[in-house]
Symmetry: C2
Subunit: 362 residues, 2 copies
């Protein structure tokens, strides 16, 4: 018996690592000290102007959007999805994203597919100034169906302790600025696939007039990185930028509620924006209730910035704001029945009742 007879192809692994190294090197900057392949990836963060550095990190996957990659044979976009999902998570604290590591796991390693995934990651990393400094490629015979793989990302950023954006200074009257998504981003794919492929018997290649493209293209649109416009907002608004939420699993309600203080409710008005047609297409094909749609999907809003009433229009003029369709989608109010923030029930923290979506909840 040998290792390769048992199903582990060391040569394929080495070819994959070579491809990764070649691509990833293009993301290295002056802060990157070592090449991929040593036991640990070394990164010397430029801490100029930061008095008390706080590291902000996140681990994420792209969920069953990976099935779309297998179905369509397109593997670079899920790499970009992963990077941008990770970036959008940590920039909610005001952090500058520094570096990423990836984990790719599959039954039988295809260096070519790994190369495509990494190409997508590298493109997204370069776009947002993030270094791809390491990762793990695991060959796990017996764990995945042929063509399937799993993909996880890990990101680290840095923020000065005094500048961390938490949401704790959010007040009644603050405005909600929505930044548009271009589709499902990385959430709700299990439901979407069930509805469109299992139930409605469509194929990724099915052209749909109302989508202006085929089903696969509409579902595969790359998760948007909001790093550029968020960096501008942080720099320009300072303390008038009160809080930020990345709209992922759990939708607007599940994510915005994480930053709304006790005793307040964020009122969201869906008529303030137009969602991409993929959402109504899925809803109609699956006969899905409106409230369920808002639980499973971002419904056209990928990121929300909470800003003081006075500065709400300033943010709309920032570089990148128009590109991301920045618009006021609602405001923060006192919880009905409470006289002030001080008298709010303590157990309201992290409750989804902190977000009210007009015509959905009432």
């Amino acid at each position: 018996m040998t290792y390769s007879l048992a199903g582990v192809d060391i040569k394929a692994g080495e070819r994959a690592v070579d491809l990764i190294r070649e691509h990833a090197r293009s993301t290295f900057g002056p802060e990157t000290l070592s090449e991929i392949g040593s036991f640990g990836a070394l990164f010397a963060p430029d801490l100029t102007g930061i008095s008390e550095p706080v590291l902000v990190s996140s681990a994420d996957g792209v969920g069953t959007k990976l099935k779309l990659a297998s179905m369509t044979g397109v593997h670079d976009t899920v790499g970009a999805d992963l990077v941008n999902h990770c970036i959008d998570d940590i920039i909610t604290t005001g952090a500058r994203p520094l570096f990423m590591l990836d984990y790719i796991s599959t039954g039988a390693l295809s260096p070519e597919i790994v190369g495509e995934i990494v190409k997508g990651m590298v493109g997204a990393c370069r776009e947002s100034g993030v270094s791809l400094i390491g990762g793990e490629t695991a060959e796990m015979p017996g764990f995945y169906s042929p063509g399937d793989y799993d993909l996880a990302g890990f990101i680290v950023g840095v923020v000065d302790r005094t500048n961390i954006v938490t949401g704790e200074n959010i007040q009644p009257g603050d405005k909600l600025i929505g930044l548009k998504s271009n589709g499902l981003h990385t959430n709700g794919y299990t439901l979407a696939r069930r509805v469109l492929f299992d139930h409605a018997k469509l194929e990724p290649s099915t052209n749909v007039d109302e989508l202006g493209c085929n089903v696969g293209e509409a579902l595969m649109r790359v998760h948007i990185s909001y790093a550029g416009v968020v960096k501008a907002a942080v720099n320009v608004l300072g303390k008038d930028l009160k809080g930020m939420a990345h709209i992922t699993g759990g939708g607007i309600r599940g994510n915005l509620s994480r930053i709304i203080p006790d005793g307040m409710v964020a009122h969201v008005n869906p008529s303030a924006w137009t969602a991409p047609p993929i959402f109504s297409f899925i809803q109609n094909k699956g006969d899905i209730a409106e409230a369920e749609m808002y639980r499973a999907f971002n419904m056209g809003i990928g990121y929300i910035i909470v800003v003081s009433e006075e500065k709400a229009t300033d943010i709309l003029k920032l570089e990148g704001a128009r590109e991301h369709g920045a618009t006021i989608i609602g405001e923060v109010r006192n919880l009905a029945g409470t006289k002030s923030v001080d008298s709010a029930p303590q157990n309201a923290k992290a409750s989804v009742s902190k977000v009210s979506i007009l015509n959905i909840d009432n």
Copy 2:
């Protein structure tokens, strides 16, 4: 159609996150700023005495040892395996491990199994002073067989730039100190499972006299964390500690070769230590060639420290050295045929021919 009918159990996800939060909180220290559940995990590293902080990071999995967890129903040990594998990777640079994040992916989420995995991670984190500050739990219907899951870990540590251990100062005459493993750690499980279960038709519950336990127990032994003894070695030896290698996939040769400078060869003498009986058991059952064994497995050495000849015996007296069976297992020599390091071929870098294992290679 609803999200839960499509196969995503949001309630199970929330229960899993509650369990993780409860366990993980016990690993938090004064450097941990936020609780799990926000968009990014916040960690304020204590940089006292570090003039130029360098972050050292790694991404790892535990490979198909996960199949053993499914077969035996024991899920806490693979959590500990993951943490200790990650720790042992980054401490090779001399770094202090700071924090970890995990990625758990499964077809249908079992909060109880996730709780067990996290319990194992938390125990290992506490043992080595690492905070488990975040992670992602992904439910991916259609990706995994019932009972299967994938598991990845991401770790970050810090080291002062002037104190990074690279191996570049390794010289002929330096000694190799081996720290013993207690079994396969996290590598070679695809081969081991093929030989013992598919080929020899054993079960995890099969008792084997020469192993002193059943097959499952011998294969499931937890990857050792060498953080304690390595920290002591770094503190005591200073610049006499020349390089360190974590023996993972690729075995002694594949990993030790990463730190040996051009023009030198590390000569390893396997008679210097006794490997746990699981290795000869697998070898006999699978009729595996000796060289193949050294490629697929750590063969009883989990970590190697390269130290100056003068200080080689000092390391054997360190706290934890005896516990880990520290012993001199070889030495570094000039590459035969080269007169000095300066005349060495440049293309020898990262070549496995930089390691010679007595009676295996010659």
